[in-house]
């Protein structure tokens, strides 16, 4: 799996090698070596926690640029509903959509429209009794990837539906082709993204092999150009076609509310998400049919590529929703098969296990526990690993040596010094 792409990267010139990101990474995917942070690619779920927590802004998310859209004859924008929470006093989504047209897109399709279809499809699948309950939303790619590498028993509980972004991309692509007769290569479909995880999902889907999106442009990247375009609009085209259900998907609880009465649970923020998954795995959660999990606090409005404070954005979305009809997109049952995932979500056991051979893994763990007893247990991070336990694991896996622990090193130096002292 060396081809796995992920979006969050380090800008080494800004990194001072502190332990802020190290300690906050929920999958222990960061190590500091020789004064710089390194991301263990396979373990990173692109949740963005390190971007949020780095005081030196040394972590950033890769995403597409506006220049990239020029590679295509027909340019399609798929705005995430979180985008609508970024503007002061916005009472009409058409202003944003018309703005996207005026900065260079030929066509817009709101992801909130696809979200309404996904909500519809979810309700249908639950009522048909076709899902493993409780079913976990597949919308947040950081959550899906977390399940894929850490929660083997929950892979079957993930909703077998494509995320709204992907549904939107497929519908928009088809509409453009039908309308213009253009070929797939001529159509560039770009998600306007609140987060890094969505870009990763486009380049390295968790299930299946190819996304119908060509890239994802950060909300923060187009924000200046877009706001200025929105201020200078000559005409506001009636482009919007989503209701309050779809727009509400951008805030935590919005997707659940669309379940209209099913027994649901909604959790946001990656640590809370992990807690829910642990409980679910141990069979401690009952009487719930649907589980909405967002890696970001507050939901997608909390994504690291937004510009506005998540709580302000949330309030704006609530406000915007007031003037919208419930839902404007309804599923035609014959389209349901087109919305299903392109395959099964398969657990990847290689990422967190000590060894693929259980006997070797047991040997390694025995060694690891032995090493751990000798470490000071301070979890200080000075060695470059997030905890003494992670350090013990790194030593066993030959990624670190015992004297990388400054206390071990000090003890060793002391010993050498004592020996020398006696000989002098």
């Amino acid at each position: 799996m060396s081809t796995y792409f992920h979006s969050v990267t380090l800008q080494p010139n800004l990194c001072c090698g502190c332990t802020n990101c190290l300690k906050r990474c929920p999958t222990e995917a960061i190590r500091v070596h020789e004064g710089k942070a390194h991301i263990l690619r396979q373990r990173c779920i692109d949740c963005g926690e390190c971007i949020r927590n780095c005081p030196h802004h040394a972590k950033k998310a890769l995403s597409s640029t506006m220049e990239e859209i020029e590679n295509y004859k027909i340019k399609v924008a798929l705005p995430a509903p979180a985008l609508f929470g970024q503007f002061n006093n916005l009472d009409n989504i058409d202003i944003v959509l018309s703005g996207l047209i005026s900065i260079g897109f030929d066509y817009v399709f709101e992801v909130s429209r696809a979200a309404e279809l996904v909500s519809d499809a979810t309700r249908k699948l639950i009522s048909q009794g076709k899902l493993n309950l409780p079913v976990i939303s597949s919308a947040c790619p950081a959550v899906v990837r977390l399940i894929k590498i850490r929660f083997p028993e929950l892979c079957d509980n993930v909703m077998p539906l494509l995320a709204p972004m992907e549904v939107a991309a497929r519908i928009a692509r088809k509409e453009v082709k039908d309308k213009t007769g253009a070929s797939d290569e001529d159509i560039g479909v770009f998600f306007i993204t609140p987060c890094a995880a969505k870009y990763t999902e486009i380049l390295s889907p968790s299930v299946g092999s190819k996304s119908a999106c060509n890239g994802a442009i950060a909300i923060s990247h187009i924000y200046p150009e877009l706001t200025s375009a929105m201020e200078h609009l000559k005409v506001i085209e009636p482009l919007s076609n989503s209701g309050l259900i779809g727009v509400g998907w951008s805030i935590s609880g919005g997707e659940s509310a669309a379940m209209l009465g099913e027994k649901y649970l909604a959790a946001d923020g990656i640590e809370n998400v992990i807690r829910v998954l642990e409980e679910l795995e141990d069979d401690h959660i009952h009487d719930v049919d649907f589980i909405e999990l967002n890696a970001c606090s507050g939901g997608c409005v909390g994504g690291v590529l937004n510009v506005e404070n998540p709580y302000v954005a949330q309030a704006r979305i609530q406000n915007l929703r007031k003037y919208l009809p419930i839902s404007l997109n309804h599923l035609d049952e014959k389209d349901l098969p087109n919305m299903l995932l392109d395959g099964e979500l398969k657990f990847d056991s290689s990422i967190f296990s000590l060894d693929t051979d259980i006997n070797k893994a047991i040997e390694k763990m025995t060694k690891m526990e032995e090493i751990l007893k000798g470490l000071p247990g301070l979890d200080c991070g000075s060695c470059g690993a997030p905890s003494c336990r992670a350090m013990a694991e790194d030593i066993v896996q030959n990624h670190a040596k015992e004297t990388d622990c400054i206390f071990k090193l000090k003890a060793k130096i002391q010993k050498v010094y004592d020996q020398l002292k006696d000989t002098i």
Partner: protein, 140 residues
């Protein structure tokens, strides 16, 4: 054959800490890349037994031995003992006090679930002396 041995004290005076032993066992098994279905069964059976020790017997200890093909667990307490094992094994039978019922315990499903999820289960209990529960969970 190699094995990992884990030992946990289960404090009887802090109800909110119940579940820590089964939780850390689960973490270790995951790090071993252990069979995921076996992990699930260990986590559930051990959790129920751990809670029982806290609710009914004022705590105790557990010893866990992990082998490549099975996990052996001993949960021991010096609580009141179980008067009638057959009765205790029945679904719905419970002597749990009201204060834990309000937290969702006391459905009388713990022991039946432990039996369901483990491959071997043996209870040694003496009134006034304590209870030992031996469980084996195999990789299927």
């Amino acid at each position: 054959m190699s094995a990992i041995h884990l030992h946990f004290d289960v404090p009887g005076d802090d109800f909110t800490r119940a579940g820590e032993a089964s939780g850390s066992t689960k973490k270790r098994l995951k790090a071993l890349g252990y069979d995921s279905d076996a992990i699930r069964r260990v986590a559930i059976a051990m959790y129920e037994a751990e809670i029982n020790m806290v609710i009914h017997a004022n705590g105790g200890y557990c010893d866990v031995d992990v082998y490549p093909d099975r996990v052996e667990i001993l949960l021991a307490d010096d609580g009141p003992g179980i008067e009638d094992i057959d009765k205790a094994m029945q679904e719905g039978y419970s002597t749990a006090p009201d204060n834990v019922r309000s937290l969702g315990f006391g459905a009388g499903m713990g022991l039946p679930n432990i039996k369901k999820y483990s491959d071997e289960m043996r209870i040694d209990t003496k009134l006034g002396i304590g209870t030992k529960l031996y469980l084996t969970i195999k990789v299927h």
